[in-house]
Each structure stands twice: as structure tokens, then as C-alpha cells.
């Protein structure tokens, strides 16, 4: 590509982002190593307890995503800057991915310990309803074409949805919980609770750090993709104005999840399944990011060519 009227601003990652990519990658590997080789085996539950480290970490990051989305919603309504909207969508998407990881890994952990894949406990239920709130958020956005209105409605719904989450939790809390409260005081009789040894605590805290860094890194990438998508949308509208409709590549890969039922005799299988899910889903999401990035890049190139032709 030579000179273009609309420069490709996203052809290269900025240097801090490259550094962050490396840092988060290395931290992630270190976190995995800590979980498998440093953290001790829990006496009662066995290997499956190791799911805990990344289970809680992704729950935290998922929550963080929704907080960021709500804050960006408020900021967008006040300042009307497009960037806040792009960040909000990115945060919601990441929040949904990590919350889904939390739900599925929790389910795998629950099978051998609570002897059921699912229980109607306040936290499980709230987290799942939260996931549904943000699924509704994405569907609302999908139904609106005009970008400015889409951003406004998204912001309003992100705020309303976020405020409903604590109330949902409160309303379901009345039912007795069997979810272990590992952090802070909880019901000591809850099945599956345990005391953390120093090594467990270190691994756990490191896991939180790792996921936070990974979250920031991925959020940055996702925001860049969002900005690129906006640029593509703008160019496409312009191209359509010039009455040059053309089919363009694009589209999301469908996330597919297969869960095999296993015998609850040996919890090692569950730990492996838990981490397979974590790695698998993170990998699928990463691939989807890469695919979208490449598709957008192709779109940009095609649209710019059109633009050039039009101008010459």
C-alpha cells in the first residue's frame, strides 16, 4: 500500500502494548507454573482444588470488566466521547468471557465436591444472571444501527444492569449458601471450604495479579479492534454513499463448548478439565480477537482502495 487518503493507523502495535503482551504472557506462564508445581495439594479435595486459583481470578476480572463498562457508561453520557463507548463494549466482552470461564470451572469444581454440576446458590445464580444482563446488553447494541444512539443506549443499559446485580445477589442471599467463602469469614460448615496455607495464598494472589495484567492487555487489544471496526464502519458507509456496495469479509467464529461427563472418583480429571476449559476458552477468545483483527485489516485495505479509486 502506498499513500492513502485515510492512513492505516493500526498497522502496528504501539511499543508499550508490545511490552505488555510479553509481560502478561510471561506472567501467565509463571502463574500456571505456580499453580501446578508450587501450590500444595489440598488434603481433602485433592487436585481439583487447584481450579480455585484461576476460578476466583477470572471471577474477579469478569467483575472488573463490568465495573469498567458501567464507569465508561457514565463517562460517555457525561462527555460523549466515542472512546468511552469503545472501551465499554470491550470491557463487557472480556467480562463475559471471564465470567463464563468462572461459571464453567466452578461447575467442574462443584461436580466432585458438591456432587452436582449446579446448585441454586446466591453467587452462582447472581453471576449467571449477570452474564444474561450483559448478553442482553450486546443484543440491544446489535439492534441499533446508528452508532451514536447505540452508544447512548448501551451506556444507559450498562448502568441499569450493573445496579441491578447487587440487588439480585441480595434477593437470592436468603437461601442458605453452600458456596465456600474462602476470603473473609464465612460459614465454616460450607462444603468445599478450606484454609489457605501461605503457599496457597501466594499462588492465589499471584493469580489475581496475572489475570489483572492479562485483562488490561486484552482490553487494550480489544479497544484497538473496536476503534478499527469503527473506522471500517465509517469507511463502509462512505463507500456505500458512493454507491459501491460490495460484500466484505467479516464475522465472528462461533464459540463452541463441549463438556464431557466424567466419573467423580478421581478429582485429577476435574482439575485437568477445569484448566482445559480455562486455557481453551482463553485461546478461543484470543483466536477470535486475531481473526477479527485480520478481517478488519482486510476490510480497511479494500475500503481504502475503493476510496482511492473514487478520488482518482
Amino acid at each position: 500500500m502506498q499513500e492513502t487518503s485515510f492512513p492505516l493507523i493500526f498497522s502496528k502495535r504501539p511499543r508499550p502494548l508490545v511490552a505488555l503482551d510479553w509481560i502478561s504472557g510471561l506472567l501467565f506462564l509463571a502463574g500456571v507454573a505456580l499453580v501446578f508445581f508450587y501450590a500444595p495439594l489440598e488434603a481433602v479435595m485433592g487436585p481439583v482444588q487447584k481450579v480455585f486459583y484461576f476460578h476466583v481470578a477470572s471471577a474477579w476480572v469478569g467483575m472488573l470488566g463490568f465495573v469498567v463498562a458501567a464507569v465508561c457508561g457514565v463517562l460517555y453520557l457525561v462527555q460523549k466521547r466515542r472512546l468511552w463507548d469503545v472501551i465499554a463494549v470491550a470491557a463487557v466482552e472480556l467480562g463475559m468471557v471471564f465470567t463464563l470461564i468462572t461459571i464453567v470451572t466452578g461447575s467442574i469444581w462443584a461436580r466432585p465436591i458438591w456432587n452436582t454440576w449446579w446448585t441454586w446458590d446466591p453467587r452462582l445464580t447472581t453471576v449467571t444472571i449477570m452474564e444474561l444482563v450483559y448478553a442482553a446488553y450486546l443484543m440491544l447494541r446489535q439492534g441499533i444501527e446508528e452508532p451514536e444512539r447505540r452508544a447512548r443506549f448501551g451506556a444507559v443499559y450498562a448502568i441499569v444492569g450493573f445496579l441491578s446485580v447487587p440487588l439480585t445477589f441480595l434477593s437470592i442471599r436468603i437461601f442458605r449458601t453452600i458456596h465456600p467463602v474462602v476470603i473473609g469469614s464465612g460459614d465454616p460448615g460450607a462444603t468445599g471450604s478450606f484454609d489457605m496455607t501461605p503457599r496457597m495464598l501466594q499462588t492465589f494472589l499471584f493469580g489475581l495479579l496475572v489475570f489483572s495484567v492479562v485483562f488490561v492487555d486484552w482490553l487494550w487489544h480489544r479497544v484497538r479492534i473496536g476503534q478499527m471496526a469503527e473506522q471500517v464502519e465509517e469507511l463502509r458507509l462512505r463507500a456505500m454513499d458512493q454507491q459501491m456496495r460490495r460484500a466484505t469479509p467479516g464475522g465472528l467464529p462461533v464459540l463452541l463448548l463441549g463438556l464431557a461427563q466424567e466419573a467423580p472418583a478421581d478429582t485429577l480429571g476435574y482439575m485437568i478439565a477445569g484448566y482445559a476449559v480455562i486455557f481453551g476458552m482463553m485461546a478461543v477468545y484470543l483466536v477470535s480477537l486475531v481473526v477479527r483483527y485480520r478481517n478488519l485489516k482486510l476490510d480497511l485495505a479494500v475500503l481504502q482502495e475503493l476510496e482511492e479509486k473514487e478520488q482518482s
Binding site: L77, I129, L132, V133, A135, A136, M139, L140, Q142, G143, I144, E145, R149, R152, F153, A155, V156, Y157, I159, V160, G161, L163, S164, L167, T168, L170, S171, I172, I174
Partner: protein, 224 residues
């Protein structure tokens, strides 16, 4: 302030008058509510033992579904006939528009409840006409339409509006519905007030919180 109240009242009056003349909305909501009750009758085998525990649930699901129907319709009418633009041109505080529509929806929902409750009482030979239940229905319906009116005014402006409203509304009103079902169930079973109070508190908190949020953000929803 009196200007605000006047505008609110004008919108409420407009909606009620339109409904009094056409009777489109209320009749649809009522027939729908009765149908839901009949379906529940067969789906749940509402014999005497089961009835005692599920009545409040059946009641609230019926009200919620009928309410969605009403909310969708009340905003869609404004949008389709271009009335919304007219309303927005009026030199009044826009939150007055929200409040007027919200109150009109509340009236419709309460009317449905007022008709459904005695019918349910007759059909199942249980007395649902209790003052406590009336209070719970008032609090629950208020919260429901407070959020519902806000979300419906967004949903009607989307491409997929008819299917969108329940998807937007239900996950957000879950705490309200849970609290309302629990409180009504407690009142119907004659549980002492102390045990119902947490649920009533939750209803009040929900109502206050979401009317405040709706008042703050409604401007952004209708802004053009």
C-alpha cells in the same frame, strides 16, 4: 415544580383517555393474563396442596408477562404514529414525559391486578383480596414499570424491538420479582410481618433506586 406536575398529569391523562376510547391495551393485557393463569392451571396441576405454595409465583409471572405486553405497546404507539417527536418538541422537562408514561403504565398494570385478583380468588376458592397483598402489588408494579418504561423507550427505537424488551427487562427485574413473590407468598400464608419486612425493604430500595436512575438517564434515551 408545578409545571412539571402539570406536564406529567397531561401525559397521564392523554394515555388514559386514549385507552378509555380504544380499550386496545387493557383488553389485550387482561385476556393475556387470564390465558396465562389457565395455562398454569394445567401446567402445574393447581390442586389445593400445590396452590398454597405457588399462588404468589403464578400471580407475579402473570402480572410480569401482561406488564411486558403493555409496556411494549404503550411506547410502540408513540413511536409509530410519530407522537414521540411531538412530545419531545413540547417545551416541558423531558422527565415529565417519562413520569407521565410510567404512571399510565402503572395504572394499567394495577387495573389488570384489580381484575385478575378477584377472578383468581373465585376460580381457586382462595381469598387474595388482602390489604397487605395490595401493598406488595403496588410496590412491585411500581418498580416494574419504573424500569420497564425506561427500557421500553430504548427497545422501541431498536430494530428488534418486540423481542428485545423482555430480554432487556427480565434479567434486571429478577430481584424485584423474587422479592415480590416472597413477600406475597408470606402474606398469603399469614407469616408474621417481621419475616416479610426484609422483602418489603428490598422492594422499596429497588423502587427508589431505579426511579432515581431512570429520572437521571431518561434524557439520554430520547435525546435526538
Amino acid at each position: 415544580m408545578s409545571q412539571f406536575l402539570k406536564a406529567t398529569y397531561a401525559i397521564l391523562w392523554k394515555d388514559l383517555t386514549a385507552e378509555r376510547r380504544s380499550r386496545e391495551l387493557l383488553s389485550a393485557m387482561l385476556v393475556f393474563a387470564l390465558l396465562v393463569i389457565f395455562i398454569f392451571n394445567f401446567a402445574l396441576e393447581l390442586n389445593i396442596q400445590v396452590r398454597a405454595t405457588v399462588t404468589s409465583g403464578v400471580l407475579w409471572v402473570t402480572l410480569a408477562f401482561a406488564g411486558t405486553l403493555g409496556l411494549n405497546r404503550s411506547m410502540a404507539v408513540e413511536k409509530d404514529r410519530g407522537c414521540l417527536d411531538g412530545l419531545l418538541l413540547a417545551p416541558v422537562d423531558r422527565t415529565a414525559i417519562y413520569f407521565g408514561k410510567m404512571l399510565a403504565n402503572l395504572v394499567f398494570m394495577l387495573l389488570v391486578a384489580v381484575i385478575v385478583l378477584p377472578i383468581y380468588s373465585i376460580l381457586y376458592n382462595t381469598n387474595l383480596l388482602l390489604p397487605g397483598l395490595g401493598l406488595v402489588i403496588l410496590l412491585g408494579a411500581y418498580g416494574y414499570v419504573a424500569v420497564g418504561t425506561l427500557l421500553a423507550s430504548m427497545a422501541v427505537q431498536a430494530r428488534t424491538r418486540d423481542i428485545l424488551l423482555p430480554i432487556l427487562l427480565f434479567p434486571v427485574v429478577i430481584p424485584l420479582v423474587v422479592a415480590a413473590v416472597k413477600a406475597s407468598g408470606g402474606i398469603l400464608e399469614g407469616v408474621p410481618l417481621g419475616e416479610i419486612l426484609p422483602w418489603l425493604n428490598l422492594l422499596v430500595v429497588y423502587d427508589v433506586l431505579f426511579s432515581a436512575v431512570a429520572l437521571m438517564v431518561f434524557d439520554f434515551v430520547v435525546e435526538e
